[in-house]
Amino acid sequence: MSASFLAPDTEAGVAAAVAAAAAEGVPLGIEGRGSKRGLLRPVQAARGLTLRNLSGITLYKPQELIIAAWAGTPLPEIEAALAEHGQHLIAEPPDLAALFGSAGPASLGGIVATNLSGPRRITGGATRDHVMGIRAVNGRGEVFRSGGRVLKNVTGLDLCKLLTGAHGTLGVLTEITLKVLPAPSATGTIAVRVADLADGVRVLSAGLGSPFGVTGAALLPQGGVGLGGPLAILRLEELPESVAYRSVRLRDELARFGEVALIGDAESRALWRAVRDAEPLGATAEQAVWRVSVQPSAGPGVVAATGFGQALLDWGGGLVWLAGPATAAAHANVIAAATAAGGSFTLFRAPEPLRAAVEVLSPEPPALAEIGRRVKAVMDPRGVLNPGRMRAGL
């Protein structure tokens, strides 16, 4: 916990706060609006820096598919502005307030710093794929930019990607420019009752390998929307005429796997919002939550190997949400399962002592870890930005 919180309302204020921390050698616990404080490792910092006062949309050009906002802008504010013009955030970032038991909404900066994406990630790309430009403050307190406000840009090293998902350890994001797209006017879901999870992933693969532009492919082990499980669900998002046509084609194609149901627009939207926010996982307050990313065909094996009864598979089966006992032994199980499947793990939510004691992210090969330390030293030479948030000692 941080003893004191700085809450600057300008970028210059952020830069000054970091510069002072660097000069004094005081580590900073950095957050957007603090909705995901329980994510990854706890930061031991004497001083906190929140971006909640650095808020507001700075540029929105619907015709150019571009929106920019200060990092502390509440995500719902951005989503509402986009909705007014019939547009949306492509990566469908989750609202994890319930999962983390937090009161307020996520910030744009927090979503980008954690690179969180929802079901549409499987075909629409991740949050990191849509970050077109950033302004940020490095560990020296210097403002720098990468990318810009155009949709295609390969000028110089892509520090947008480096900072996205870096959890504030390489720089404090101050302003972010995102690519956005028109929101589809209709949504539909094809639900298939399957025998087991492996069968379910086969259904999802058949859907994703079809020419019908599936934008969501998840597996609910316990079922949902009044249907028993395991239930494979596939989403279509298009013009209403296309959703109607493609639903029927996909239904016919997937009927060989099991009983098929079509789910209409309103119910579909609610269902996928729940999947996005990991609600079907049903994690209780005392459980730990993991996210494991593997190739889709390996997803069911990960669930089986951990022995946990609670799971939710998204991204065609490749994103495995797990809920289980908040113990080092359970964590070791997840590590073993993810590693055996050639994937990576994140201890997403756990009580502080466990998060502080274990590796919360897959380790990197030694040569890459060494490069990582050097890059950290370039961006944050005094080690004041969220020290230890991702890995101990970094």
Binding site: F144, R145, V150, D158, K161, L162, F345, S362, V378
Partner: protein, 486 residues
């Protein structure tokens, strides 16, 4: 005029020894040192610049690449990685004291996995080679740069290549899962894998588009996608550039994102028509090629809506392809645009700035004015949906003054792109071509920070050291100025 760093005398003096050591790693035809046989490697797609390298090495495995890099690292020899050599920004331009590390013999498709929708390929597999390999099963690899017949996936990763269809499917960075790379020190590192969004820093994202300065890519795991049921194109021609720009705005604003939305101006229409006889309207000032995907009925629906939008802008002609053949005919001119311009003027520079699409009319008007000022013809063909311009500046390479004028004209266009809120390069990369303009887009401190990140991967500045950053402040020229980590 592009300057290159002074060759290191001590490296030049040890040439025979270096070549012999390379031959011990890559036997037979894999090492080239004879003057005549070095010729094909002295330039790339930016053929105005030529520089024979010290030697060329063409390894056939990651192990050989690692051994070559370990050797060069130990001997302080600079290395320039090269795929097919199609870079339009001089990304593969050699240095006199550098070994060119060509990946073209590493051209095997190692695995295709339809269940997980991925392919594992070596760096020297061509872009189109991936699609050709999976197309019979209905799949494709999405990024489609104009050079896709020749360009290699390793180079695509290096440059983060785009193409005509990235409005819908994204660029290279959006279509990768994993890389096998070798650092300048010769360490082999697997980045990412067969899964999405590996935990930790996004090294995959940082390496993509790093122009061969951070590590050498030897293997790539790409995502492959199932093709839509079908696609069809339409052509819409307008009386003015501004009007066409407004039509583009209206299309995007309508909520329809076509898979491709290409723009050609009058000079380009004329050049392409003379070349391809595609039936382009010669009285138009601007023309759009718009492509949609889906079933026949879905195509009809979308093309109907697009036609309705275009009709609001008083088009000179509006032609919706009725068959796949008619679509191909519409695309034929566009796909041959560079060749068509090449028929009018054998020498041209292809620029690559990106601008906010709202600035399109202003920027095209300014380019027209500059064309008159410089007395050099320019044809514009570009990806309208994402504002990625490709002005083709025609000049006479036999006349040095004409070439220098073309370069100054190009630089002025790119500065204009940055001034209106855009960038120097959308998909071709900085290379040597735009290296000295980087100060237009970035502050000195921002460039120093990027240089320091390069140094975190390659502390000795041996890997493609004369690209992307201006030579001033570049340790490849002045080692004393090497950016420090702390």
């Amino acid at each position: 005029m592009i300057r290159l760093p002074e060759p290191k005398a001590e490296v030049m003096a040890r040439r025979a020894e270096i070549v012999a050591a390379l031959r011990a790693i890559v036997p037979g035809e894999g090492v080239i040192s004879e003057t005549l046989r070095l010729k094909p490697y002295e330039t790339d797609g930016l053929s105005a610049y030529r520089q024979p390298p010290l030697a060329v090495v063409l390894p056939t495995s990651t192990e050989q690449v690692a051994a070559v890099l370990r050797l060069c690292h130990a001997m302080g020899v600079r290395v320039v990685p090269r795929g097919a050599g199609t870079s339009l920004s001089g990304g593969a331009l050699p240095l006199a004291d550098a070994v060119v590390l060509g990946l073209m013999r590493m051209n095997r498709i190692l695995e295709v996995d339809y269940d997980n929708r991925l392919a594992v390929v070596e760096a020297g597999v061509t872009n189109l080679g991936i699609t050709n390999h999976v197309s019979a099963d209905g799949f494709f690899y999405a990024p489609d740069p104009s050079s896709q017949l020749a360009c290699m996936i390793g180079g695509n990763v290096g440059m983060n290549s785009g193409g005509a269809h990235c409005l819908k499917y994204g660029v290279t960075a959006n279509n990768l899962l994993g890389l096998k790379v070798v650092t300048m020190a010769g360490e082999v590192i697997d980045i990412g894998g067969r899964h999405l969004d590996a935990a930790g820093y996004d090294w995959l994202g940082l390496l993509t588009g790093s122009e061969g300065m951070l590590a050498v890519v030897t293997e790539v795991t790409v995502r492959i996608l199932r093709s839509a049921e079908g696609q069809r194109a339409m052509l819409a021609a307008f009386k003015g550039i501004e009007i066409a720009g407004q039509a583009v705005d209206a299309i995007i604003g309508s909520g329809i994102i076509p898979v491709a939305l290409e723009f050609m101006d009058r000079p380009c229409i004329h050049a392409c028509e003379a070349f391809a006889h595609a039936g382009y309207p010669l009285d138009a000032e601007a023309m759009l090629i718009i492509e949609v995907e889906g079933s026949e009925a879905e195509q009809d629906l979308l093309l109907g809506k697009l036609k309705e939008i275009c009709n609001r802008f008083d088009p000179i002609s509006l032609k919706v392809a009725q068959t796949a053949e008619e679509s191909l005919a519409i695309w034929k001119g566009r796909k041959g645009a560079f060749g068509a311009v090449g028929r009018i003027s054998p020498d041209y520079l292809c620029m690559d700035g990106t601008i906010p699409t709202g600035e399109l009319p202003f920027v095209l008007k300014r380019i027209g004015e500059m064309s008159a000022e410089y007395g050099l013809q320019v044809a514009n063909v570009f990806h309208a949906g994402d504002g990625n311009l490709h002005p083709l500046i025609m000049f006479d390479a036999n006349n040095p003054e004409s070439f220098h004028k073309a370069e100054r004209f190009g630089a002025e266009i790119l500065k204009l792109c940055v001034e209106v809120g855009g960038c120097l390069t959308g998909e071709h990369g900085v290379g040597v071509e735009k290296r000295d303009l980087m100060g237009v887009q970035f502050t000195a401190a921002e460039l120093d920070q990027q240089r320091a990140i390069k140094a975190a991967f390659d502390p000795g500045w041996l890997l493609n050291p004369a690209k992307v950053f201006p030579l001033e402040g570049n340790p490849a020229v002045a080692p004393a100025a090497l950016p420090r980590a702390a």
